[in-house]
């Protein structure tokens, strides 16, 4: 596996050298800045209605225009992007952590436990995301929390599978046997010997997960299954705009473009990271 110890400096240098990763970092960096600081620059609150200025075309006062009840779309998009990203990141990370733990333990313990756990994981994977989300709504009610859980659940199988498979490979390595011979408990072995050595593909999976996770979030919110209006999330804003799309396409188009750019950035970042972690193994000097 990866043969070098992790250092931020080296990571930064490798990122700069990879075009995909640099672009990804650039886009996401910009987005994050916009989300964090943007709202302070925009003079409007996302929920401020102004019935004197409904469905306005983009202008200097309203760069993204306004919606049917006069809310400034740019403000809504910025806040919405923030919420979307947060929901996605928390959800995917939660799912990733849980999935990794489940998969790693299952793969490590093996015997009869592994096939049983993996069948449960398969079962989870078989559920369509929206059915899952709906179910969670029924149980937990509407709002941000159920969406986070829904996204987390969607990603558990993904990470569990990956973690399990990489664990199976690492488990057989002599250094794990050596750790066992040292008398280390199974828990210690999993945390100290296995986890650090399966971490790399997990991180890549995480960034890839973010990219699709945000699509899931937007989709759920669009359908009304996620973040509830009037709280903006990108999906909610688009849902608002869909009713009058033909007359006033700006809302849905500009929001959609924003979403697209975010996803593009995350994808580029994920691709770049995957490249960086891979040829690092190839760029050795053939001892």
């Amino acid at each position: 596996m990866a043969e070098s110890n992790f250092s931020f400096k080296r990571l930064a240098r490798d990122i700069l050298r990879n075009r995909s990763a640099t672009a990804g970092v650039g886009i996401i960096g910009f987005m994050v800045l916009a989300m964090v600081f943007g709202p302070s620059f925009v003079p409007y609150e996302p929920n401020d209605m102004d019935f004197m200025a409904i469905r306005e075309v983009p202008s200097w006062t309203h760069p993204f225009g306004t919606d049917a009840v006069g809310r400034d779309v740019l403000a809504r998009v910025l806040y919405g992007a923030r919420i979307s990203m947060l929901v996605t990141i928390i959800g995917v990370t939660l799912g990733g952590a849980a999935g990794t733990m489940i998969g790693m333990t299952s793969g490590f313990v093996g015997r009869w436990v592994d096939p049983v756990v993996m069948r449960f994981v398969d079962l989870l994977m078989a559920f369509p995301i929206f059915v899952l989300a709906l179910f969670l709504m029924l149980v937990l009610g509407f709002g941000i929390q159920p969406v986070i859980f829904a996204i987390a659940l969607v990603y558990v199988p993904n990470f569990a599978r990956l973690a399990r498979n990489t664990t199976l490979a690492v488990k057989e390595e002599p250094y794990v046997q050596a750790a066992r011979l040292m008398g280390q408990s199974n828990l210690r072995i999993m945390l100290r010997e296995i986890l650090p050595n399966i971490a790399a593909p997990m991180f890549v999976q995480l960034t890839v997960g973010f990219a699709f996770g945000i699509v899931i979030e937007a989709g759920l919110s669009f359908l009304g299954l996620g973040v509830q209006p009037p709280d903006p999330s990108l999906g909610v804003v688009m849902a608002d705009g869909k009713d009058y799309f033909l007359a006033h396409p700006w809302v849905i188009t500009l929001t959609g473009l924003t979403l697209m750019v975010i996803i593009l950035g995350l994808n580029l970042l994920g691709d770049g990271l995957r490249d960086i972690l891979d040829p690092r193994l190839r760029k050795r000097s053939m001892a």
Binding site: R10, R282, K283, S285, M286
Partner: protein
């Protein structure tokens, strides 16, 4: 592609001034420097060196099989009567595919895991069918030809093996099958890189015997890379000893074993033979470690570990001195140089 004939003597491979290294994330890392060698048809040249000596990189350079981030350059690279230096990649790949064979440490890489062993033989026979009418006839009856070859390499049930997949054979069997394929292929150049390191003593002996047979039957030039001097002794006509990316001694096997000149060669031989003695005393060691390619000592690369080091060794890089029947890269032999350097 330039294929102006140079000289049709019996030198199959001639390399002069080969340098190679890798572009790493923090700069260029030189691995081998000023490597020059010649191999005649039907001759076995051994390249001896420990891990990190550059022997594998040398072999891979010859075959253009280095990874993407490698950079190579040479002053002369002749293969048979072709000047390969200017050749483009595709032409070289053609040449390599038709005239060169490689035997690696792990034979599995040479086989397509999704195809049976028989398929591989069929491919080779088809390819060689164009060489002569005899070859064409053989290609028609390739199954029997394959079984015969496999018997030659010690595979008793060749017919069964033809129908098996590579992963179903043991390491030793697969290596034998590969040698049979090489026999069928009749290449002009064979490169073997530590082909027996993974095998047990006993199987190793047999495989080495097979290589000897190979060499007798074919007229190929044979480059044999290994870290084990005793193996080299049984198989090679001439030996090139490499250390830290340079050839430090070059000469006939017998002469080098009788009279090793470079201190490193002497140390290698001593440690290799020590185990075979029955003395039971402490084994001879070469103290210290190989230098890192990026941090070579300023003078002779072996100086820090050399028992005969003296003043100039630490500041001057010795060239390869020409002695009668031997080349040595050591200042101790400066005065014996016959080339008038």
């Amino acid at each position: 592609m330039t294929d102006t004939p140079i000289r049709s003597d019996d030198v199959a491979l001639r390399i002069r001034g080969l340098n190679a290294g890798f572009r790493m994330s923090d700069g260029y890392l030189p691995i081998i420097e000023d490597v020059s060698l010649e191999v005649r048809k039907g001759e076995v040249l051994g390249i001896i060196g420990e891990s990190g000596s550059g022997k594998t990189v040398t072999g891979m350079s010859i075959l253009h099989l280095l990874p993407e981030n490698a950079e190579t350059e040479w002053k002369v690279f002749d293969f048979l009567d072709l000047d390969v230096t200017g050749m483009d990649e595709e032409a070289f790949r053609d040449l390599r595919g038709n005239r060169m064979a490689v035997v690696f440490q792990d034979p599995t890489g040479a086989f397509n895991p999704a195809k049976k062993v028989g398929w591989h033989f069929h491919q080779v026979f088809e390819r060689t069918a164009v060489k002569s009418p005899d070859h064409a006839i053989r290609a028609k009856d390739w199954r029997n030809a394959a079984i015969d070859l496999m018997r030659d390499v010690g595979i008793a049930h060749g017919a069964n093996v033809l129908g098996q997949y590579p992963h179903q054979l043991s390491g030793g069997m697969l290596q034998r099958a590969l040698i049979a394929l090489v026999l069928a292929f009749e290449p002009d150049l064979i490169l073997a890189d530590e082909p027996t390191t993974n095998l047990d003593n006993i199987v190793e002996r047999q495989i080495l015997d097979l290589f000897r047979d190979l060499q007798k039957r074919l007229d190929s030039a044979f480059v044999f890379i290994t870290h084990d001097m005793t193996i080299a002794a049984t198989l090679c006509d001439r030996i090139a000893v490499m250390y830290a990316g340079r050839i430090v001694e070059l000469g006939s096997t017998k002469e080098i074993f009788d009279d090793p000149k470079h201190p490193y060669t002497q140390g290698l031989l001593a440690t290799a033979l020590a185990l075979e003695e029955k003395s039971g005393e402490r084994l001879q060691e070469i103290p210290g470690e190989l230098p890192h390619p990026g941090a070579l000592p300023p003078g002779c690369v072996f100086a820090p570990r050399c028992p005969h080091v003296f003043g100039r060794c630490e500041t001057e890089r010795p060239p390869l001195f020409d002695l009668p029947g031997r080349e040595v890269r050591c200042l101790l032999y400066e005065d014996d140089d016959v080339s008038g350097r």
